[in-house]
Symmetry: C2
Subunit: 356 residues, 2 copies
C-alpha cells in the first residue's frame, strides 16, 4: 500500500484480451459508430469485467480538454455561498464538467498558489463565487486565458462576465414593502462602503423613498460593515436620532441579526415597536427571534446561471456580459405596521412600478 495498487488496467490490456487493437477498444468504449456493434458490445463488457476506468490525464493530454472548471471562493465558511455552489455544481455535472476547488481565505499567498494550481490543471473556465475577490486575484485569473464568470462581484468596475442578484431591485422591494406596511420613517444600516452591493441597495432605498416624496433624515442612514456588530451600533445610533425611525432596512441578514439583538437589549419589541428587514435570506434567517423578514437573493439560480453562462462561453457563443437576477421578498415576522398611527399616506404606486 502507499504505492499504486497493482497498476490499473488500460485499453491495451483490454485489447490484448479481446484480440483487437487498442484503437478499436478506444473507439468501442466511446461508442464510436466505426466499430462492429457486436465487437463493441463484447469489448464494453470485457472492460467492465476487468474494472477498467479511463485515465482522465491521458485523455486530456491528447484532447487538450480537461472538463474541469475552477471554482474560486474565499471561504466555504460563508453561509451564503453554499447554495450558489450547489447551483454551479449541478449544471457543471450535467454538462460533464468537474469542479476544482480553490479557496484563498483572503490570503494573497494562497491566492497565488490557488491560481497556479488552476493553471497547471488546465481548467477550461473559472467561476469566482467569492464575495471579495482580492485585488490581485483577477489579473492572475485573467492571465489563465480562459473564460471567467464572476458571481456577485463587489467591485465597482463592471467585469467582463458576471451574474449578480439585483441589489437595487431588492432594496426597492424591501423599502416599498415597509411603506406598504405604513412606514415612512425608514432607516438604512449600510454595508461595507466600498461594496457595490451596498451602493446599489442604498440607492434603491433612497430612490424608493424619493419616489414617494420622502426624504430620509440623514441620521437614519448609518454606516456598517455587513456584520452583526454593525447592526448593534446601528440601532444605538438610530436611538439617538431626534426623530426615531419606525423601520430599519439592513444591508444584510447578519446586520439585521445584530440589529435584532440590540433592539431587544434596549427593550424594543420587534416588530411592534420597530420593524427590521434584512437582505440575503441566509439559512439562519428563519430561526432568529422573531424570524427575520428579508429579501432573498436567488442563490441557487445565480449558481446555475453563472455556470450556464460559462458553458456557453466555452462553446464560443456570445453572451451578454452581465446578468441581474431578481430578488424576492420573504415575509416572516420581523416587520409589521408602525407603532403609533403614523400617517399612512404612502404612495407606493410609484415604488411598485419596478416590481414584477
Amino acid at each position: 500500500m502507499g504505492r499504486r495498487a497493482s497498476r490499473r488496467v488500460s485499453i491495451k490490456d483490454i485489447a490484448r484480451r479481446a484480440g483487437v487493437s487498442h484503437s478499436t477498444v478506444s473507439r468501442a468504449l466511446r461508442g464510436s459508430p466505426l466499430v462492429n456493434p457486436r465487437t463493441a458490445e463484447r469489448i464494453r463488457r470485457l472492460a467492465a469485467r476487468m474494472g477498467y476506468v479511463p485515465n482522465a490525464a491521458a485523455r486530456s493530454l491528447v484532447t487538450t480538454r480537461t472538463s474541469i472548471i475552477g471554482l474560486v471562493i474565499t471561504t466555504l465558511a460563508d453561509p451564503f455561498l453554499a447554495e450558489i455552489v450547489r447551483g454551479v455544481e449541478e449544471v457543471a455535472l450535467e454538462a460533464g464538467y468537474r469542479l476544482f476547488l480553490a479557496t484563498s481565505n483572503a490570503d494573497p499567498e494562497r491566492e497565488l498558489a490557488a491560481v497556479r494550481a488552476l493553471a497547471e490543471s488546465r481548467v477550461e473556465g473559472v467561476i469566482v463565487a467569492s464575495s471579495r475577490v482580492g485585488e490581485l486575484y483577477l489579473p492572475h485569473l485573467e492571465a489563465l486565458g480562459v473564460p471567467i464568470v464572476l458571481i456577485n462581484q463587489q467591485r465597482e468596475a463592471p467585469f467582463i462576465y458576471s451574474v449578480a442578484a439585483d441589489s437595487y431591485q431588492g432594496a426597492v422591494l424591501a423599502v416599498s414593502y415597509l411603506m406598504r406596511l405604513g412606514h415612512t420613517r425608514i432607516a438604512y444600516i449600510a454595508g461595507p462602503p466600498m461594496a457595490r452591493s451596498n451602493r446599489l441597495r442604498w440607492m434603491g432605498y433612497q430612490e424608493t423613498l424619493a419616489a414617494a416624496g420622502i426624504t430620509p433624515d440623514p441620521e437614519w442612514i448609518v454606516e456598517g460593515n455587513g456584520r452583526p456588530e454593525a447592526g448593534e451600533w446601528g440601532i444605538q445610533r438610530l436611538l439617538e436620532a431626534p426623530v426615531r425611525p419606525t423601520a430599519v432596512f439592513c444591508y444584510n441578514d447578519m446586520t439585521a441579526i445584530g440589529a435584532l439583538r440590540a433592539a431587544r437589549a434596549v427593550g424594543l419589541r420587534v416588530p411592534e415597536d420597530l420593524s427590521i428587514i434584512g437582505f440575503d435570506d441566509i439559512l439562519f434567517a428563519a430561526y432568529t427571534e422573531p424570524p427575520l423578514t428579508t429579501i432573498a437573493q436567488p442563490k441557487y439560480e445565480m449558481g446555475r446561471t453563472a455556470m450556464s453562462m460559462l458553458l456557453r462561453l466555452l462553446q464560443g457563443e456570445r453572451v451578454s456580459p452581465s446578468l441581474q437576477l431578481p430578488c424576492r421578498l420573504v415575509e416572516r415576522a420581523s416587520c409589521g405596521p408602525p407603532p403609533e398611527g403614523s400617517i399612512p399616506m404612502v404612495p407606493h404606486l410609484l415604488a411598485e412600478r419596478r416590481l414584477p
Copy 2:
C-alpha cells in the same frame, strides 16, 4: 476563443529557445542538481518570461501521481462542514495536494457519478466529510483502491480510518457542566436514532448522571432528528412530564435553536426558568437569543487531522485507524442555575474524573 488559446508553451519550446534539450529544461525547472546552476537559472528565467505553466496531466501521466485528493461531502450547505473543509484544505495545500470536490446531495445517482469522477481523475486518496454517507457510497469508494479517511462518520460499523469528535466526552462535559450549575433534573433531546453520535451523546448523558447517582426520568429523554423541529416538539413533550426538568441537553445546536424558540413561545425564560445547552458550536450559536452555550466540536482540527492522517497513509505509514478529538465547552448565556433552589447535592466529582 472557445478553443484553446494559441497553444501553451511547453518545455520543448523553451528548450529550442535555450538551445538545450527538453530534458535539461525539465531538470532545471524541477531544481535537479544535475544541471549547471548557470544554465538552470537561465532556463528558469526564460520559462518565466515565456509564461510557461507545467501541464499537470502530462506530468501525472508519467509519474502516475496526481497530487489530487477527493473531497466527498453531501452538501456544502451544511454550516458544520465549512471549518472542516478549511482544515483539510490547509494541510492538503501545504503538502502540495489539491482538492477535487465531489458532492452528492444524497442522490444515489450523483454519488455514483461523483465516485466515477474521482476514479477517472485518479485521486490519490479520499476524505469523506459527509455526515451521512450513503450506504452504497463507501463500497464504491473502497473500490478505488486508495486510502480513505472518514470524518465524523455516522455508521456504527467502525470504518477503516476515521477521525471524529469525541461525542461521549462532549456529552459528559455538557451534563457535568449543568450539574455543576446545580441541575439534577436534566433532559436529553436526542438526535437521529441511528446516528452513532447520538448514541454516544446519549450514553455520555446517561453515564454522567449515573456516576452522580442520578437516574433520569424516562420522560426526560425525547426522540429527535437533529433539526429545529425536534427541539420544539421536545420542549412541548418535556412540559408535559410529571416532574419538569430544569435543564435540557440537546443533541445539537439546531435542536437547541428549536428548543430555545419553543421555550420562549410558552413563556419560559432561558436560562432563568430553563437551561439549554447545545452541541457543535455552529456559526450561528453565538447569535441566538440568548447566545447558546454549547459543546464545540474541534472542526478545524478534525479537518487537519484527517488530512494529516491521509498524508501518512499515502506515505505508507501505519496509523491508528480511528482518532477521537476532544470537544470543549463554550459558555455563553443559555445556561444558569436551576430556578427554585433545587437540591445542590450534586456529586460532580465522579463526573469530572474524565475531564481534562
